[in-house]
């Protein structure tokens, strides 16, 4: 099969070349030769510029060429897997930690051995996040999690619970000060990432943990009694309930709701802070509150990671870069300046935290967070869970909806 498909591809490629008669045949060989010698890093557009000077410094120090190539973030994961399979992938790829499981099942990345003192320099949650099947698969550099941002003009008091927040928000709406009780993106197909603190506070979970604390794909939490109970509490906040959660609030309009002062509460991550500052809204950051009498509200913590490609031509250099270079606070600080997410290195976090008090608040809000599961089975969760969320918020029966979602997910995990 492999040979056949390969010949189909090359045949098609040859025909394409002949047909389109695209020139420049002899330069192609040269660029390819150059790319084979150089160590190649793939990152998204935002991080590419920051990485360039560091890559150059690393290259100069070791007498090698280092290229940093920009790949759009939404294509980075699949492009990397495809390129790796075709043998033309990079040596290092920078991306979210929840890609780990998929990379491992496709044999696209190598484990990384960090000395114990380097491991201890990182936040424990960050290390936990990049560990899969007891192996460390990447070096983390930044973390992010959801927080509650409130407009201190409208809501000076930090709410201790969801109920308090909804009550205060309803009061503001009824008084005509705001349009919406709170801003949490739902959309027509739901948003599992943003509802997670509420879901966990009401007792729900996605996957259980095994003895090592790893996510256990055989213990699916969606469709259990706990998840139904959790969705019943979420339904109380939905369109048929208090109206705090609405499908009409989605990723497109939620930020403008808060930035225009049309709602006092905004559940979001540190990525929204630059726009809020620009809009001039007086704000305060706190943890996403839980339900009264419920458990802790645990947001997802996702970790930005450097991975070493298994099929790279410069594996030893790539290992050297991620183990000895990414752990440098300077790189973490530079990456923070281009994209304000809290660094995973404790030293870098302390250094930046002195100038940016918001950072410590974001970190504190994520302290009890769950690392976003990196197991490949998580892919089966997103779509059905989100739709169940949207249906329940729209007024559907939680038991029927969540049971169906659980069955669909279990079916897909197989």
């Amino acid at each position: 099969m492999k040979i056949r498909s390969a010949s189909v591809f090359t045949g098609a490629a040859a025909l394409t070349l002949l047909a389109t008669a695209c020139g420049g045949g002899d330069t192609g060989g040269e660029t390819q030769a150059a790319a084979e010698d150089a160590m190649v890093i793939w990152a998204d557009d935002e991080r590419t510029d920051v990485l360039l000077p560091f890559a150059e410094e690393f290259g100069d120090a070791h007498g090698v060429e280092v290229e940093v190539q920009a790949v759009p973030n939404d294509e980075l994961q699949s492009s990397f897997v495809t390129a790796h399979q075709a043998g033309s992938g990079p040596d290092i790829v920078v991306g979210a930690h929840d890609w780990t499981g998929n990379f491992v099942q496709n044999g696209a990345i190598d484990p990384i051995q960090l000395p114990q003192d380097t491991v201890e320099a990182f936040a424990p949650t960050a290390i936990e996040a990049v560990t899969y099947n007891d192996q460390l698969y990447g070096v983390p550099y930044a973390m992010e999690n959801l927080v509650l941002i409130r407009n201190t003009d409208l809501a000076p008091e930090e709410p201790a619970s969801v109920e308090e927040m909804v009550e205060a928000g309803t009061g503001l709406r009824d008084a005509g000060d705001v349009e919406e009780i709170m801003g949490l993106q739902v959309g027509q197909v739901g948003d599992p990432y943003h509802i997670h603190p509420f879901y966990t506070s009401a007792g729900g979970y996605l996957f259980g943990r095994d003895d090592n604390g790893d996510y256990d794909p055989t213990d699916l939490g969606v469709g259990t009694d706990e998840s139904i109970a959790a969705f019943e509490r979420i339904a109380e906040l939905g369109e048929e309930g208090s109206g705090a959660l609405k499908r009409s609030i989605d990723d497109q309009n939620v930020a403008s709701l808060f930035n225009d002062g049309r709602t006092a509460y905004f559940v979001t991550g540190p990525w929204s802070l630059p726009d809020i500052r620009t809009a001039g809204i007086p704000y305060e950051i706190s943890a996403v509150p839980g339900f009264e009498g419920g458990e802790e509200a645990r947001p997802f913590v996702s970790v930005q990671t450097f991975y070493v490609a298994a099929g790279g031509a410069n594996k030893v250099l790539a290992q050297e870069f991620v183990t000895n270079y990414v752990a440098k606070p300077e790189l973490a600080v530079a990456l923070y300046e281009s994209d304000p997410r809290p660094p995973a290195l404790t030293a870098a976090l302390e250094q930046i935290g002195e100038d940016d008090p918001d950072l410590a608040k974001v970190v504190a809000a994520g302290e009890n967070g769950d690392p976003l599961p990196a197991i490949p089975q998580m892919a089966a969760i997103w779509d059905p869970f989100g739709k169940a969320e949207a249906s329940v918020i729209g007024g559907a029966d939680p038991e029927e909806t969540v049971t169906a979602a659980g069955e669909t997910i279990a079916d897909q995990i197989g």
Partner: protein
């Protein structure tokens, strides 16, 4: 243009010579410009063939090379042939047809009988290598050595040696045999703790290390008990062991840490243990027709398939009907003689056609937002447009009509202008009303020109992924089934089946694509037959 050479395209003796083919002067012997063009094009073809052949040769792909050689030989044979053969005109089109139509279809079909997808991409050997590499664990009492990679003799080919410094300052040389302690005088240790020089060894530079990267990544200094000292980059080493190893005899992988045995399942392309737990790394295998039978027998697919197919047909047919009626009506209005400002109206009418549909779908989605959307606000409505199955379908059809009618308007305008006004006038003189004249004279003549357009509009909208995915993502979804939404088309539904769950499942997606291909082919065939019978009437 009279043939000046013997024999014309295989015509038997006595048969009249076929008329010269159009454009024949380009390839005729004697025209210097034509000859130059021919030489340039053939030279380019040869250059491209060489350019394609070298990487194929490097990869040892002999089938690929023979395909390239065959195609190039065919091109040269056909265009250097002195005879005037029609294949000269057909060849480029045929090659393009094979490259862009037939090969993708064949490739889709060949993919549909495999389990190609995430977790099953590579070969079994790759999966085994990946499992073994991923199982290397740092020994519990491992110390962190500072590392310099060295070689005996030639840096590029000499035997690899790891020059190691333990945290207590002792220096070692490690080769494939094991560790040897170096006498303190034999090695120079830098302030960073790495050995920079050692008697009898050449320390490699980073570039030299990189050149031997694969060798170094696989190298381990044995320390007994199956473990070894491995490199972690250029400057550090650790002691560890691979806990999983492949055994060819039992075709299985044994985990020395837990004692578990994972046996190869060559039908599914995975290693599984007795408890049914599988290793994440699998490989690609042929699964026969099981992707096709899965589509047909999977109860969750069956339950929703016909509902989706019905809406899919209704969506495509509804779109065609709406854009046809609106486009034609506007074209008729614009066709009225003596209309002032006709050009301005026409520009306004085709405006939606000039907008990028991608952005327009997103814009319309926001306009249909129940709380903040323009539609509800402007008309003072309180309709949950995208949250209710029927309003979502209506919204989708409206938007699709808005984007689609300008094209039909343009086509209808052109077709109307080609119908002589005298025909309609004659009908009116014969006593037909305006409607009768339109119904029995204009419309039938229009339909001859419009039917193929309507068929292709139908085929396009049958698979209009963008419209549905950007507007509703297939939603709203019934509470009991998150897999099949009210506005799902087969193509969006397939996309979710193949890529929504366990990552990418190309094999399964290819099987469903084959089904969609068959359905669209069938519908197109039937409707084209219809349109041919329509033409015969006239």
């Amino acid at each position: 243009m009279a043939p000046n050479r013997r024999g014309t395209a295989g015509a038997p003796g006595g048969a009249p010579a076929p008329p010269p083919l159009p454009g024949g002067s380009l390839v005729r012997n004697g025209s210097p410009a034509g000859q130059l063009v021919k030489i340039a094009v053939l030279g380019l073809a040869a250059a491209l063939a060489l350019w394609a052949a070298f990487p194929l040769y490097a990869a040892g792909n002999w089938i690929g090379i023979s395909v390239v050689a065959g195609v190039t030989a065919l091109i040269f044979y056909v265009y250097l042939s002195p005879r005037r053969v029609p294949v000269k005109y057909l060849l480029p089109g045929t090659l393009l047809l094979i490259a862009f139509q037939i090969l993708p279809v064949l490739f889709t079909v060949s993919t549909s009988v495999t389990n190609f997808g995430d977790g099953h991409r590579g070969s079994k050997e790759e999966a085994i290598a990946s499992i073994e590499a991923a199982s290397v664990e740092r020994s519990a009492d491992s110390v962190d050595y500072a590392l310099s990679v060295a070689a005996v003799g030639d840096p590029a080919g000499g035997e690899l040696v790891f020059l190691l410094t333990a945290p207590d300052g002792t220096s070692y040389a490690g080769d494939a045999e094991g560790l040897t302690e170096l006498a303190p005088g034999d090695a120079t240790v830098s302030t960073a703790g790495r050995i920079t020089e050692a008697e009898g060894y050449v320390v490699l530079t980073a570039a030299e290390v990189s050149a031997r990267g694969e060798e170094i990544a696989a190298f381990a200094v044995p320390t007994g008990g199956g473990s070894g000292i491995r490199s972690s980059g250029l400057s550090a080493a650790y002691e560890g062991s691979a806990t999983r190893a492949y055994d060819e005899e039992c075709d299985c992988i044994t985990d020395s840490a837990s004692g578990a045995v994972f046996t190869a399942d060559d039908e599914r392309g995975v290693f599984v243990d007795e408890a049914g737990q599988r290793l994440p790394q699998g490989w690609q295998v042929d699964v026969g027709w099981s992707n096709f039978t899965k589509v047909l027998t999977d109860p969750s697919v069956n339950a929703s398939f016909f509902g989706i197919l019905a809406w899919n047909i209704a969506f495509a047919a509804g779109t065609v009907l709406l854009v046809f009626v609106v486009g034609l009506a506007l074209a008729l209005v614009m066709h009225v003689q003596g209309l002032r400002g006709r050009t301005a109206y026409r520009i306004l009418l085709v405006l939606p056609y000039a907008m990028p549909s991608f952005a327009m779908f997103l814009l319309w989605r926001d306009m249909f937002n129940a709380d903040f959307g323009l539609v509800n606000r402007m008309f003072g409505l309180d309709v949950d447009w995208l949250g209710d199955p029927w309003t979502a379908r209506a919204a989708l059809l409206l938007v699709n009509m808005w984007l689609g009618y300008p094209y039909l308007f343009l086509v209808a305008t052109g077709a109307l202008q080609s119908i002589p006004r005298e025909l309609v006038q004659a009908a009116r003189i014969d006593g037909a009303g305006a409607w009768q004249a339109f119904r029995h004279v204009t419309l039938p003549l229009l339909m001859v020109a419009m039917t193929p357009i309507l068929v292709s509009t139908f085929a396009f909208n049958f698979n209009n992924f963008n419209a549905v995915y950007l507007m509703t993502e297939g939603g709203p979804f019934p509470p009991g089934n998150p897999m099949a939404g009210a506005t799902d088309l087969l193509i969006t539904y397939t996309y979710r089946l193949a890529f929504g769950g366990q990552g990418a499942q190309y094999g399964y997606a290819a099987a469903v694509s084959v089904f969609i291909f068959l359905i669209v082919a069938l519908i197109s065939l039937v409707s084209l037959r219809q349109s041919r019978s329509l033409e015969e009437v006239h």
